[in-house]
């Protein structure tokens, strides 16, 4: 023991601190949690990751790489995704959701402008995988497999790749050059693409099964379904899918003065707005009301802004033709009764309410189906491809995903399925047991300490004025100010992950939060932490939680 100093005046430079960590009964731990945005994202994007990268590093390139870890099509999804992520955003309970979708587009566009390239994780391996269909599911699957070194070849039935993104989505929502660039960027990973080859017609499925180690079927739901109605064989009657494909292929379609679109889904909205841009007066005829419409809310809103007329409670009875040409639709008014099997109110005709809507063109956007021509797999509900939870079909080595499996879903959902299928295919080829990781629990706004967040106005993208939109097929949302998007990204709460706010570091009364020299992140100094819980309480994003001392 040291001799007592004169007057007990101690030199403070060599004090060995007394360790107070032994007092602790509770222990602070860092728990990364799943934010509700990512939880809601069908593509499984690391939304918090790319937003915080923007907010903290102001680095669009890094943000692009975060986004494209999961999704090769951020510019596309940033335009067409109905963004369920924003529905989940915890910020909604505080002020308004972060404009995630807009930020995603900004990052995606930045990547295209700067010609950012995807990086391969594994240079090359010998196994080969065939992907049927170059829609979002097929592309996503091909992308993830190619990144992991697989040889991938995509067979595309149409003349250009992209599936529904190319032929189903009008270019005022998704300009063709954006899609093309994003596709090319994916193909640069060494993916082979052969167009105008319809598997099952031009090349037998068996040949693929024999040639490749695995096959992914991402053929979508390309067949438009018409309803059983008299006169649907007339000229100027289209299915929604066919109509959009014609227009998106660059063909001129003469729709005449009056167009009636039947249906309330996204395809119906696209058809209506395309017809509007072709110069017609457009009515959407729907049996129920707006509430029951399956289309994305924003699409309905935009269609309404563009003066598309909506006729609710209206059911077509018969297409009236003259000389094999449509002249109108006989329709009947409906009233809603108790819900049917789908949970939606059941429409029942009102007797004597028949009327005629004049029409030069009728578009039946009333459903789509898988085109199984030459492909034989087990089906679900007689309609969709049956696949197990690893997205394998009834046939060993054949996987499927996207609309063909899900029914009509979004681009993001298809991307997500492609991602999952790629993992499953890798596991299949390598003979691994399923390697899907359990996700950490989702964090909700009640767990946050929102005192540390400031109310801030959400970035709202601005559309072109309506009269400008209807003149052409140009995108209705012009590019965004990159600085403004960084500001918007700063609104992200970073739910469930440290964003370096420093509260724990500053508030710990025992100075038991240190900056780790190894990782540069905050860490607990358990020699001194008394387990008071102040850090956890004042952690804005619930990344710190208290657990029982072991």
């Amino acid at each position: 023991m040291n001799k007592l100093p004169l007057g007990l005046a101690l030199d403070l430079r060599n004090v060995v601190p007394y360790k107070t960590g032994s007092w602790r009964t509770l222990l602070p731990v860092n728990i990364m949690q799943t934010p509700p945005c990512s939880n809601a994202c069908p593509a499984g994007n690391d939304i918090r990751g790319f937003l915080r990268t923007l907010a903290e590093k102001k680095d669009y390139e890094a943000a692009w790489h975060v986004l494209t870890r999961t999704n090769p099509l951020p510019a596309t999804c940033g335009r067409v995704c109905p963004h369920p992520c924003e529905e989940g955003c915890n910020r909604r309970d505080f002020d308004t959701a972060v404009a995630i979708n807009t930020a995603e587009r900004a990052v995606g566009d930045y990547g295209l402008e700067e010609n950012l390239e995807h990086k391969k994780l594994i240079a090359s391996r010998k196994e080969r995988v065939a992907v049927i269909g170059s829609g979002p599911a097929g592309l996503s699957c091909a992308f993830h497999l190619a990144k992991r070194g697989f040889h991938v070849k995509i067979y595309e039935a149409y003349g250009e790749p992209g599936g529904m993104m190319r032929y189903g989505i009008p270019s005022y929502r998704l300009p063709n050059y954006i899609l093309r660039q994003e596709l090319d960027n994916v193909l640069k990973l060494g993916i082979e693409l052969e167009c105008n080859v319809k598997v099952g017609v031009n090349i037998p499925m068996d040949q693929l099964v024999q040639t490749y180690d695995a096959v992914f079927v991402g053929i979508g739901a390309q067949k438009g379904l018409s309803i059983d109605i008299t006169g649907d064989d007339a000229k100027n009657v289209f299915t929604g899918v066919d109509f959009l494909r014609e227009v998106n292929s660059g063909k001129y379609v003469d729709v005449g003065k009056d167009v009636v679109v039947i249906g309330g889904g996204n395809t119906a909205m696209d058809c209506a707005r395309v017809a509007k841009r072709l110069g017609a007066n457009v009515s959407v005829v729907y049996r129920r009301t707006r509430i029951e419409m399956p289309a994305i809310t924003a699409e309905i809103d935009e269609a309404m802004e563009e003066r598309v007329m909506f006729r609710y409670h209206t059911n077509p009875v018969k297409i009236i033709t003259d000389d094999d040409k449509v002249v109108g639709i006989l329709s009947v008014q409906m009233e809603l009764k108790e819900p049917d099997a789908s949970g939606r109110a059941r429409p029942v005709p009102i007797p004597g309410s028949e009327s005629v809507i004049p029409a030069d063109t009728v578009i039946l956007a009333t459903g789509q189906a898988v085109d199984y021509d030459g492909i034989e797999v087990q089906k679900r509900d007689g309609k969709w491809v049956a696949a197990n939870e690893n997205l394998m079909t009834s046939i060993d080595g054949i996987f499927a995903g996207g609309d063909a499996v899900l029914g009509l879903e979004t681009v993001s959902a298809a991307v997500g399925q492609g991602t999952r299928a790629a993992s499953a295919i890798e596991d299949y080829i390598e003979g691994n047991v399923e390697s899907r990781l359990a996700r950490p629990p989702v964090i909700y706004s009640r767990d946050l300490n929102t005192y540390y967040y400031q109310k801030k106005k959400r970035f709202e993208k601005e559309a072109l004025p309506i009269h400008m939109r209807l003149k052409h097929f140009k995108e209705i949302y012009p590019p965004f100010d990159l600085e403004a998007i960084i500001d918007e990204a700063e609104r992200c709460f970073s739910c469930g992950l440290c964003f370096n706010c420093g509260n724990c570091f500053m508030y710990c009364p025992d100075n038991a939060v240190k900056i780790s020299p190894k990782t540069g992140l905050y860490e607990f100094d358990l020699d001194f932490c008394k387990g008071c819980g102040l850090c956890a309480k004042e952690c804005p994003c619930h990344y710190i939680q208290m657990s029982l001392e072991r």
Partner: protein, 296 residues
């Protein structure tokens, strides 16, 4: 190394009041002491009163101080600091920051005379009061900073008097700078310490520093309780520069005093089966008076 967090710009974290002290978990005073001395920096002498802070931070041979520390008695840090300042002047040493400090008992009660003397003589010393509203070191007895209604071990049925208003008394000595602050706002505490130390003459900073043990709230609520004290109007945060009240912290959303009272055991008896007693109305009136007086 990690870059300094952009959220901590202008904030000082030097651990000059270091780990290894024996304060209770969640101690507001330990937090306040570190904020104050980290803001003041290495060129500082701390003159500390007897009390919780001194006892938990200065046991031989492992005190938590990394800057010069001088403790003599309960009631005299202001006078001791005056002596240190006089010595520095006489010896032509310095400049140096001298911070005298103590709890509310030391400041408002037993050391009141020494502090008044220090203010009046004009020593270039910053006095910091860590206000935890009772004698915590000796086991939670009433001080003249104990608020109305609070239960302490010497006011078992609730304190019947109102809190002494030392910031105004300090200001009326004609000293150039007086401020109040709370430990939840570390930027504010440090800004005020730095501002005070840049001013020549005696300065007084009054920091609300919750005591989980004495107030009867979990240690994790130390910061939250401060916010409630401010947002109910019970603890006004302001500066008095050359006699003028300024930089008053406005309350964003005013809260009823119950919000503050009900999270603390010391006010539990003011609610009978959850229903506030008439004392709560008195406390609300105190808050209202503060709100009106300082335009909170």
């Amino acid at each position: 190394m990690m870059e300094q967090s952009k959220y901590l710009e202008g904030v000082e974290k030097k651990d000059l009041f270091a780990h290894g002290h024996r304060a209770c978990g969640g101690c507001g005073q330990a937090l306040a002491a570190r904020l104050v001395h980290d803001a003041a920096g290495e060129n500082t002498i701390a003159c500390v009163a007897t009390g919780c802070l001194e006892v938990f931070s200065s046991p031989y041979p492992d005190p938590a101080w990394r800057i010069p520390f001088l403790h003599s008695l309960f009631e005299n840090p202001a006078a001791v600091a005056s002596g240190v300042e006089a010595a520095y002047k006489a010896l032509g040493k310095g400049p140096v920051n001298i911070i005298a400090q103590g709890g509310d008992g030391s400041t408002a009660d037993i050391g009141f005379q020494c502090i008044s003397g220090m203010f009046e003589r004009g020593h270039n010393v910053l006095y910091v009061c860590y206000d935890n509203e009772a004698y915590m070191n000796t086991g939670v007895q009433r001080s003249s900073f104990t608020p109305y209604g609070a239960r302490t071990t010497t006011t078992p049925t609730g304190n019947k008097t109102r809190k002494k208003n030392l910031p105004m008394i300090a200001a009326d000595h004609g000293i150039p700078y007086v401020a109040t602050a709370t430990v939840d706002d570390f930027r504010d505490v440090q800004k005020k310490v730095k501002k005070a130390l840049a001013i020549e003459g005696p300065k007084y900073i009054h920091i609300l520093a919750p005591c989980p043990l004495g107030w009867g709230h979990p240690g994790e609520l130390t910061v939250e309780v401060c916010r409630l004290a401010k947002d109910t109007g019970l603890f006004p945060v302001f500066e008095i520069v050359n006699g003028k009240v300024t930089n008053v912290r406005r309350i964003p959303v005013k809260l009823p005093v119950e919000e503050y009272l009900k999270v603390q055991g010391r006010f539990k008896h003011l609610f009978k089966k959850g229903v506030p007693t008439e004392e709560v109305a008195v406390i609300q009136e105190i808050a209202n008076q503060n709100i009106e007086r300082f335009n909170l």
